[in-house]
Assembly symmetry: C2
């Protein structure tokens, strides 16, 4: 390791010089911006300098190169340090650093993949290691030799998601993954619980089965040797626990509380810090050559067309099962497709994929945060990950989903067992806020298919779409509504019942659509004709069709959904047409539901065919 | 410990008999229901029998008694075992057990506090231990001697929230907390990662600083002795790692995969299981007497009226700061009020409370899941907990919030730094989906005050309200809008600008209201008068006032919010009046935002006074 033409002391001197330069750049940028976390940059500067200028193999002019070693700044508030490192590596001009945190620069307060050298958005703590697990898994799937480095804070390592990832990384023997904890002792508002008790950190990480190395995080020689040991370790991930000082190198803030998230005041205060640091520069330090990445294997073969679904009219198939079948077919058609589970694969039917493609399947056990985080990491390496669990348990990963939306991650999430139609298991297992949480995030596609045929086709569409797609499926078997040739597009809808004298437009999806179709028949018998729309794409929404239908039915819409009242299909419809003076009535689950039989619950919570008929009659 | 009149072997025999009875009851109930998790009940039956009939001190006729030891069934899917234990203890008739999972019984698929003996809703895994931390903290705050027992599954212990709670329990030296892990080796879809590697479990828990005891979870004598050791341990929480067999006692399912979540078929299959278990009953087992709880201290003194706020017209105060001030005042007025932080107390201003009432303040460091879970536990013990962090980081705890809503927990959450108005830190720190996720949950009160005066009064109202209240606050200082005597009620709103010729109703809250008031002046100058509503209570919403104002302004409403487009104020207004043919136009943040200056961002994302004026002119 290291630049072979240099002696060890020369390498150390050069890294120290670089680290000081990164500190200066971080101070300068944050002072110019008037905000930021320079002291959090200073504690980690030696670690980052060692990684960027000796340890990591990458092309500094091509940060998206597949063979590059990966670096995740999980402690995203140290963003200026990351930016300084890439500038120092030559990716862009140092003058750019002074645009930190402005609207016209993508050097934002916390890193996002708007920047070509950022793979995953960070800034919400505890998310880097799960993403690192995904990246390390991607390398293994591809037989690629790149290594993944994740720099975390010590305060951050209280987040439970860190320990989910720790367990999964150990279980999968990810020796290509190296975590570094910057133990600088000070959180935002207090010293951390463990402060500089390095042995307490060691007991946690070794307890979780990791190869653990404690170092002085400012001793470059020791750091380099630790990275060398990490790279030489097989069958086990390594964590380097680096004892550091917050604000290292600047005497008047070093190891002092009350300096979290504070920029030095531009002018005298900043200059004082920079002057101190400048004295630590080594003008005679030799130049370091960044190690080249190893070439990458050829890309996998191009995706083939998906085998068509084979469902037949008259059959009843649960949408969750059709999802599993489509995913398995997709696995065959597209080698980039991978799948993730959180110990419910026999309920979500991802087991169909898992059995056929065990090498492209990541079992996360009961760790939904790691599942979504690892999906983000896999996507950052070019995979198309489908992660699935019960819709309700995706709430556990909402912060990860939020950050995936910020990072425009190309992940696909499936939430099964949506709504009260799951029945006896009761409210804790019912996904009733899933559409609300997904629709809230800009750019997220939200799909709610009602039959196996549309589910199958929409899984295909999800894979083809670049970005975050959420698909909601249900537990009960429901009838096939569509033929094999029917086309479904993201942003579309289907008018599945209509006539010239329609007096009301019913908009529904999922099991509620099945109820709406029953209601249609009952109403027809009673001499009332209504229009029925299958709103399989909730976001984006087919405003034009909704508007056309509403206009044709006296500006009256009734929405039905097996979801809570707020944030689902009803509100999506209202949001789309609510500025047009159209009256939208909602049928949805309005209280915390109870255990019971599925049909009983649909009726009890007012979203059954009976309830729809009643509402329709009342409205017309 | 134990019934003093009995010998140790007699006690053991009696517990074994009880455990078998609980297994039989669990099998019978799930078979009658046609679904459920009898094998997950069987693995834990000896543990539960030991706890309920020897170890725990409680009044079986009065499960809500303050002095009772507490039991949390974190592995909520073993609900039939819990129900059987309370029936066996004499709280209700055993015949009730056969109503399991029906709409007419509160013996639901997973436990909820609809049942008097359930303190917190479980069924989403990994939530029991954080709640247990809250309960154990409550005991300490009150000087109460009850102990808290949390029964977890092994698969469950992968959830990161378990390790957040483990760290916090150790840090707070909660020796009144005892966790039991039912290590039955089998998850839902696979064996667990660690299976029966008890030493691997030990290394994790001792690594996290817990007193750790490994036992055979079916050896009652060993179990009783472990509970005795746990009770005798000071300064440290204890975990009992119990090696068990899933389906224990029923030979044809014991330790077998593919039996998760499956009831025995009513008839022959169920009878076979019951027959086997019945042979294990001991008709000669002596009766056990349940230990009485220790009497509880007097209740704290009644709450006093809150000191009035002292803000003055012309001042500018951030709503987050007013929150902190109100909370500190509330701490003085009401001894039941407690506060929780996740290492941002200097940003949310809960430090004002923490400094004055350190014994009623729980610092959770960077562990939002534990913060909300502990709040639920504190509330279950009668406290009124206010937990605060950045609004965006509450997404980390959404599953806990969901379960709090299901459990009707009396917790108060505050999310600060809402919206793009935080500025330079960028999107990862901006709460822009907080109202969407809170409004989606039935029964949750969502408050969005715009000035310090209303914030202060609404904090008071939140404490007085029984149930989950969310308050959204902002980072920037904003002007005082109201006088000291102004009243604010949950479900109310304020018309703060109106005239006879108003042509549009603008509905806003938070920093957006400040922009709306600027827009009002600009429009007035241009000869256009509009009505402005302060929608400080987003849920419940003041439909009557919205409707009145809309009617008075040509059925036209413009909503403005520093929140994403879906699930916030605009959608709440649409949902309230959207069935009346009123046209509602929304101004909200429609894309993933960027770092920048607060004012610049408000304008860039179309929610500034300028944008409001433009929209108003376009609409009128």
């Amino acid at each position: 390791m290291g630049s072979v033409t240099l002696s060890h002391p020369q390498v150390i001197a050069a890294v120290r010089h670089k680290a000081t330069q990164l500190r200066i750049d971080s101070v300068r940028a944050t002072s110019e911006a008037g905000s930021g976390h320079p002291t959090s940059c200073c504690s980690a500067a030696d670690i980052v300098a060692a990684l960027f200028f000796v340890v990591m193999r990458y092309d500094p002019k091509n940060p998206r190169l597949a063979g590059n070693d990966r670096f995740i700044l999980s402690k995203g508030h140290a963003a200026p340090l990351l930016y300084a490192a890439w500038a120092e590596a030559g990716l862009f001009e140092k003058a750019e650093l002074l645009k930190l945190r402005t609207l016209t620069s993508d050097l934002e307060g916390h890193p996002t993949p708007r920047l070509p050298f950022v793979d995953v958005a960070t800034g919400s703590l505890g998310q880097g290691l799960p993403a690192g697990v995904g990246m390390a898994m991607s390398a293994r799937m591809d037989g690629a030799s790149f290594r993944v480095y994740v720099l975390m804070g010590d305060g951050e390592s209280v987040e439970g998601s860190v320990w989910e990832a720790a367990e999964l990384a150990r279980h999968n023997k990810l020796d290509n993954l190296c975590a570094i904890v910057d133990v600088n002792r000070l959180g935002q508002s207090d010293p951390t619980m463990l402060q500089h008790d390095m042995e307490a950190y060691r007991s946690r990480w070794t307890g979780f089965g990791w190869h653990t190395i404690i170092v002085d995080g400012h001793d470059v020689g020791v750091l380099l040797s630790a990275f060398e040991k990490a790279a030489a370790t097989t069958g086990q991930p390594t964590v380097i626990l680096a004892k550091t000082l917050k604000g290292k190198g600047i005497s008047f803030v070093e190891d002092r509380p009350d300096w979290h998230g504070k920029a030095f005041k531009k002018g005298e205060e900043a200059q004082k810090a920079i002057d101190e640091l400048s004295k630590q520069l080594d003008p005679n330090a030799p130049t370091l050559e960044i190690r080249k990445p190893e070439p990458v294997r050829k890309h996998p073969p191009a995706a083939e067309p998906l085998a068509p679904p084979s469902y037949k009219a008259g059959e009843s198939v649960a949408t969750r099962e059709a999802f599993g079948e489509a995913l398995a077919a997709l696995g065959k058609a597209n080698p980039l497709v991978v799948s993730l589970d959180a110990d419910v694969k026999n309920s979500t039917f991802t087991e169909k994929f898992g059995k056929q493609f065990p090498d492209r399947f990541l079992e996360n056990y009961i760790a939904e945060q790691n599942m979504v985080g690892a999906a983000i990491g896999l996507a950052a390496c070019g995979k198309i990950p489908f992660a699935a669990t019960f819709a309700c348990f995706l709430t556990r990963a909402y912060d990860f989903i939020r950050m995936a939306a910020i990072g425009q991650a190309n992940i696909k999430l499936m939430g099964s067992h949506a709504g009260v139609s799951i029945g006896e298991d009761g409210p804790s297992q019912m996904g009733l806020e899933d559409m609300a949480m997904m629709c809230a995030q800009p750019g997220v596609v939200v799909l709610c298919p009602s039959d196996a045929m549309s589910t199958y086709r929409l899984v295909e569409a999800a894979a083809a779409h670049r970005g975050l797609v959420y698909m909601r499926t249900a537990r009960p078997k429901t009838p096939i509504l569509y033929g094999t040739d029917e086309q479904f597009r993201i942003g579309g809808s289907k008018i599945i019942r209509q006539g010239s004298g329609d007096r009301l437009t019913i908009v529904a999806a999922g099991v509620a659509l099945v109820e709406a179709l029953k209601a249609y028949e009952l109403l027809k018998t009673a001499g009332i004709t209504v229009r029925v729309i299958d709103l399989y794409s909730v976001a984006p929404i087919d405003r034009a069709t909704l508007l056309d239908c509403a206009r044709a039915t006296q500006n009256l819409i009734l929405t039905v959904e097996d979801h809570y009242e707020h944030g689902g299909i009803g509100d999506a419809v209202l949001s789309a047409v609510g500025n047009e003076g159209i009256r939208v009535h909602k049928l949805a689950v309005r209280t915390i539901p109870h255990s019971g039989k599925p049909d009983e619950l649909l009726d009890h919570y007012g979203i059954s065919a009976r309830a729809i008929v009643e509402a329709a009659k009342r409205l017309i």
